[in-house]
């Protein structure tokens, strides 16, 4: 057993920062004397000085750790070459795993950027994700459903697209995150075309046929036209495209023409 604790103590030796994911207050207080403690959680319940807000409780631990590290890098808490020890949970809400992460620029996958540095407000992106997750979980009347949300830079997106039919959201002032919206979007998701959502979260239009130029869009082969359109519009404008796939049920987010994040709604 001593070898196991040796390995572990080596593993957690001299970190530049300790990154705690959603710690309880008691657990956080145990690190009171440590130099640099970063808390990554949905809400800063422990009043930590260094805090990175988690927009989604990523079920994928890799994404969660990435997001936390990128957030810490963005706040200048961590920089290239540092090592961080992350305490997080894989199975239940309890802390059950420790990982040692060497920070380097190639870690920047853009997950953090996707939420915080997009044109649209972070809360809007989060709300769209919530809607997409719910849509992916339940589908339309039990059948899997696909949807394409283009968030932010709505003016340009509207100029690079055309209406397939009358816009059901014309002269309405509905925002994602409004309580009624989930039902509404679920109903409208059987329409063809994309939803366009403005920077502040207003649903500008449904039924949009996107006409971006698809040059230089780098998405995995085998994804359909919906993904291609989403990737292309995110490259052509400053918008973020959030796509719910009808065939495999995954949600993918595109920014700048590349796929940034892939999540499975069933895990949330």
């Amino acid at each position: 057993m001593s070898s196991l604790s040796d390995v572990l103590s080596e593993f957690v030796a001299d970190p530049d920062a300790i990154v705690l994911f959603s710690p309880s207050r008691g657990f956080y207080d145990r690190f009171a004397d440590a130099d640099s403690v970063v808390v990554v959680a949905e809400e800063n319940v422990v009043d930590a000085e260094q805090f990175v807000e988690l927009p989604l409780s990523f079920a994928n631990v890799r994404d969660r750790v990435r997001f936390g590290i990128e957030g810490a890098m963005d706040d200048g808490i961590l920089e290239e070459g540092n090592t961080a020890v992350c305490v997080t949970s894989i199975f239940d809400d309890e802390n059950d795993s420790v990982s040692r992460v060497r920070v380097n620029e190639s870690m920047r996958s853009g997950i953090y950027d996707l939420f915080t540095n997009s044109r649209a407000d972070p809360s809007v992106i989060r709300d769209v994700f919530d809607v997409a997750i719910e849509l992916g979980k339940k589908g339309q009347k039990g059948k899997p459903v696909g949807a394409l949300f283009v968030v932010g830079d709505a003016g340009k997106v509207m100029n690079k697209s055309r209406a397939l039919s009358y816009n059901p959201f014309e002269k309405s002032h509905v925002h994602v995150g409004d309580p009624i919206v989930n039902v509404m979007l679920k109903e409208f998701s059987r329409l063809d075309g994309a939803f366009v959502i403005s920077d502040s979260g207003k649903i500008v239009s449904a039924y949009r046929y996107l006409e971006p130029s698809a040059e230089g869009v780098d998405i995995p082969k085998g994804l359909g036209t919906r993904h291609m359109a989403g990737g292309a519009i995110s490259r052509d404008t400053n918008a973020t495209a959030i796509v719910l796939s009808e065939s495999d049920g995954l949600i993918r987010a595109f920014k700048g023409g590349t796929i940034i994040l892939e999540i499975d709604p069933e895990e949330y």
């Binding site: 003016g155 509207m158 100029n159 014309e170 403005s198």
Partner: protein
Amino acid sequence: MAVETVLNAIRRVFTGIPPRVWLSVVIVIIGFVLSYIVAAVNRQILERAGVAESLEGTAIERTAREFGTSTVRIIAKLTGYFVLLLSLLVALTVAELGYADLFWSGVAVFLPQLFVAVAIMLIGVVVADKAELFVAERLRGIKLPEIGIVPALVKYSILFVATLIALGQIGVATLALIVLLGAYLVALVVFTAIATHDLFASCAAGVYLLLNQPYGIGDEVRVAGQRGIVQEVDLFVTRIETDGEEHIIPNRSVFKNGIVRIRE
């Protein structure tokens, strides 16, 4: 023998006291019991109504805690004392202690007023504290050191009004204070009107723009000499974007200068 004389003496003393005094003693005892019951019931009611929770965190509650009590208890006790004092007054009247009449009649009028004044003050302090907390909570997102003055201002305004009402209750001349309050309110209204004039004008124009949507997101327009694509229309401003530039134009000027919609 000795015991008998003592008993006789006691009997004589008791029979010497007129029945009215007995009655008043009974009234005082009833008053004691009643005040205790009223205080207890009041406390129950206040706690059931969730007053205790809503007072959580206010300054008065914290001070009360320091003295090992709570605001709810203080209010309950006050009502108890009020009932007790009332019963004492009734008892004194019944006992017909003539020499005290004049004094007590004055007190009888004054006492309820004093109680109302104290109650108003208490409510005022609590409401002021609550308002301060509420405003501070709302302003938490704004990271500006001077913003701390706004909650304090709200608190002292409410306290000031409460003091005025309380003093008015017990008949202290408050004319000067009312004049002060009037001046303060006028200043507040005038400054607010001047400061928010542009905002209100923009807001009014914004309501029209949102309801009628003469232009929408994605339209190319020219407003106030700026040409570009509309990105966002909200209550106060319109955001228009050209290559690399974003113009944030107050809705007031959209209305004043008119809008050119560009169609190709």
